[in-house]
Amino acid sequence: MEFFDSLRQGFAALGTWQIAVSLMLGAALGIVVGVLPGVGPGVTIAVLLPFTYGMAPLAGISLLLGVYCGAFYGGAVTSILIRTPGEASSIMTMFDGYPMAKNGQAQRALSLAFMSAFVGGIVSALLLGLAARPMAGFAARFGAPESVMAIVLAAVCVGKAYRRQFASAMMMMGIGFFLATVGIDPNSNEQRYTFGIAGVLSGIPLVPVAVGLFGMAQALVMVSSPVPSFDASLIQKAGVSWRGFLEPFKYPKAMAKGLFLGSAIGVLPAVGAALSTSLAYFWAQRGNKDRTPFGQGNPEGIVAAECANNSNSGGAMITVLTLGIPGDAITAIIMGVFVVHGIVPGPSLFMDRPEIINGVLASLLVINVVILGLLVISVKPLARLAYVNPRILGLAILALCFVGAFSAANSMYYVIIATVFGVLGLVCARANIPTIPLILGMVMGDTLEATLRQTLGRSEGSFLPFIERPISAVLVAITVLLLMWPLFSGLFAKRHPNT
C-alpha cells in the first residue's frame, strides 16, 4: 500500500512542465547518443551536468536519468544493424541480433531488443520502489563505522570489477580520495594542497573533472582515430514489428534470468551492465526453448541480454538513494545533481525529501514508456545517425566540453581543470589505466574522511569499533574475504589441480 502511495506521490511530483520537458528531452537525447558512434551516456551526462544546476532537482535528475536509460535502448540499434555496440553492455545483443538482421529479420531483432529492454527497465524501477525503503531502513542503522566500511567495501568492489586491473583501479581510487581532500579542511580550516591558488580553496570541483575525463578524453580519441567502415545496407531495414514486441513473453525463463542478474548485479558498485548481460546470455543458453543455435540469431539471447542490460538502472540507483554510494561513473555524476542542490543521498533522504525518492521512481517508469514510444515512431530515421562521421561528433563534443565546463561557474578556471583532466584521461587510455575509479573516489572521498575521523575520534584512535559492531564486522569480513580471495582460490587450485 505504501508503495502505491509513493508511486502516486511520485507521479504528482512529475506534473510540472519543466520536469515533463526534461524527461522527454533526456529520453530523446539518450536514444540519440546510444545510436551515435562513439558517444556514450557518460560523455553526455558529464556535459549536461552544469546545465542542471539552474533546474529544480527532480527536473535535473530526470534529464540525466533519461539519457542514462535511453542510451541502453539506443545501443541495441547499432549492435543489431551494423554490428557495432555503442556500449560494452550491448555486445551480447550483437551476437544474436546481427545474424537475425542479416537473415532479413532486422525488425524482429529490434522489436525483441526494445521490448526486452522495456520489461527490464520497468521491473528495475518497480524493484527500486519496493527495495529502496526497506534498504534505507536498514541503512538508517548505520553509524560512522558502518558508513566507513560500506565505502571501503564499495571501493574494493570497484577494484575487483576491473579484475586483472585491480591494482591500477585502486591507484586511481586513491588519487580520487586524495583529490576530494584538496581545499580548506572543513574540520580544522587548514589549507590542504592549495598552493596558495584562490580557486582551489573550495576544492577541486567534480563537474570539470567529469567533463575532462569523460567528454574531452573521448572527443580527443574520436577526432584522432580513423573513421570506421561498416556495412550500412541493413540500416535501411530498420523498423519494428508488433509480433516481435510480443515475442519476448514467449521466453519467460530467459527474461527472468536477465531480470534477476541485471537487478542483482546493478546494486553492486562498479560491476555494471556488461557483466550482467554476459552472465545472463550464457545462463540463457542452458535450457533454451528456441532451437536456433546461440550466436546465429537465437531470440532468447537477445531477450536475456537486453532484460539484464536495462534492469541495471534501478539497481544502480538503489545504492545512490539509500547509501549515498554510486554504483558506476554515471550514477556518480547523477549524484552530483543531489550534491549541488544540497541534498544528501542516504537513509535520511526518505524522511527529508520523499518527493525526490518517489519522483525518481516515477520518472524511471515514465522514461521507459517515453523511450519505447519514441523508438516506435522514429527508429528508421534514428538508425541513420549511425552514418555520422565520428570525427565531426568529436569536434562537436570538444566544443560542448568548453561550454559545459565554463558554464558550471562562468569561469575559465573550470575549463583549465577540464583540459588537465582531459589530457589525463587520454594518457590513462593510452597506458590502459581505468579512470572511472578516480571519479568514484572523488565522490565518496568526503564522506569517507568525515566518517573515518568521527569513528577514530570517538574511539581515541582505536580501530576496534569496526569489528565490535555487528554490521560493521560483517562488512569488514566481506572486504577481507574479497581481498584474500585470489589467495584462497590459488591454494584451492594447488590442492585440487584437477578441479
Binding site: A88, Y162, R163, R164, Q165, A167, S168, M170, M171, M172, M173, G174, I175, F177, F178, T181, D185, S188, E190, Q191, R192, Y193, T194, M216, A217, Q218, L220, V221, V223, S224, S225, A274, I392, L395, L398, A399, L400, F402, V403, F406, S407, N410, M412, T419, L426, V427, C428, A429, R430, A431, N432, I433, P434, T435, G445, L452, R453, L456, G457, G461
Partner: protein
C-alpha cells in the same frame, strides 16, 4: 605512466607538511588534516608500485573496458589539444561566436576534413551553439572585440 603516478603520489606524501598550511604538528594523528590525504596517497603509491611490479613481471593484464585509444593518432590528438588551448585564450579576447567558428574551422583543416564539410560544420555548429548557450541559456563569456 603508472610509475609517474606512484612517484607523484610519494612526492606529495613526503611534501605534505609543506603543503598543508598551517601544518597541524600538534594534532593527534587521527584528528590531523594530514591523516586522510596521507592514507589516500599511500594507497595510490602502493597500488601503483604493485601494478608496476605486475607489468614488469609480465603478469597478463586485461585491457580496460573503458576508452579504447589504441587506434588514435597521438600527433593529431596533441594538435587538437593545442587548438583547444588557443580557443580557451581566444574566447574572452575575441568573443564566443567568432572564436568557436575559428576553432572549428582550424580543427577541420588540421584533421584533414574536406573544405566543404569544414566550412558548413563550423558555420552551422558555431551559430547553433551561440544561439543556444549565449542567447537562450544566457551563458556569459565576457565582452570580446568581436562577437
Amino acid at each position: 605512466m603508472v610509475l609517474g603516478v606512484s612517484l607523484a603520489a610519494a612526492t606529495v606524501l613526503m611534501a605534505t607538511p609543506q603543503l598543508i598550511t598551517p601544518y597541524p604538528a600538534q594534532a593527534v594523528w587521527f584528528e590531523s588534516a594530514a591523516f586522510f590525504p596521507g592514507v589516500s596517497l599511500a594507497l595510490a603509491c602502493v597500488a601503483g608500485l604493485f601494478e608496476l611490479y605486475q607489468r614488469r613481471s609480465s603478469v597478463e593484464l586485461a585491457d580496460s573496458d573503458e576508452l579504447d585509444s589504441s587506434a588514435a593518432n597521438m600527433r593529431q590528438a596533441l594538435g587538437m589539444l593545442a587548438l583547444f588551448g588557443l580557443y580557451m585564450l581566444a574566447v574572452p579576447w575575441m568573443g564566443y561566436l567568432s572564436s568557436t567558428w575559428l576553432f572549428l574551422l582550424a580543427s577541420g583543416a588540421w584533421l584533414g576534413m574536406s573544405r566543404r564539410a569544414t566550412l558548413s560544420l563550423s558555420v552551422l555548429l558555431s551559430l547553433a551553439m551561440w544561439l543556444v548557450f549565449v542567447k537562450v541559456l544566457k551563458v556569459y563569456f565576457g565582452h570580446g572585440w568581436l562577437m
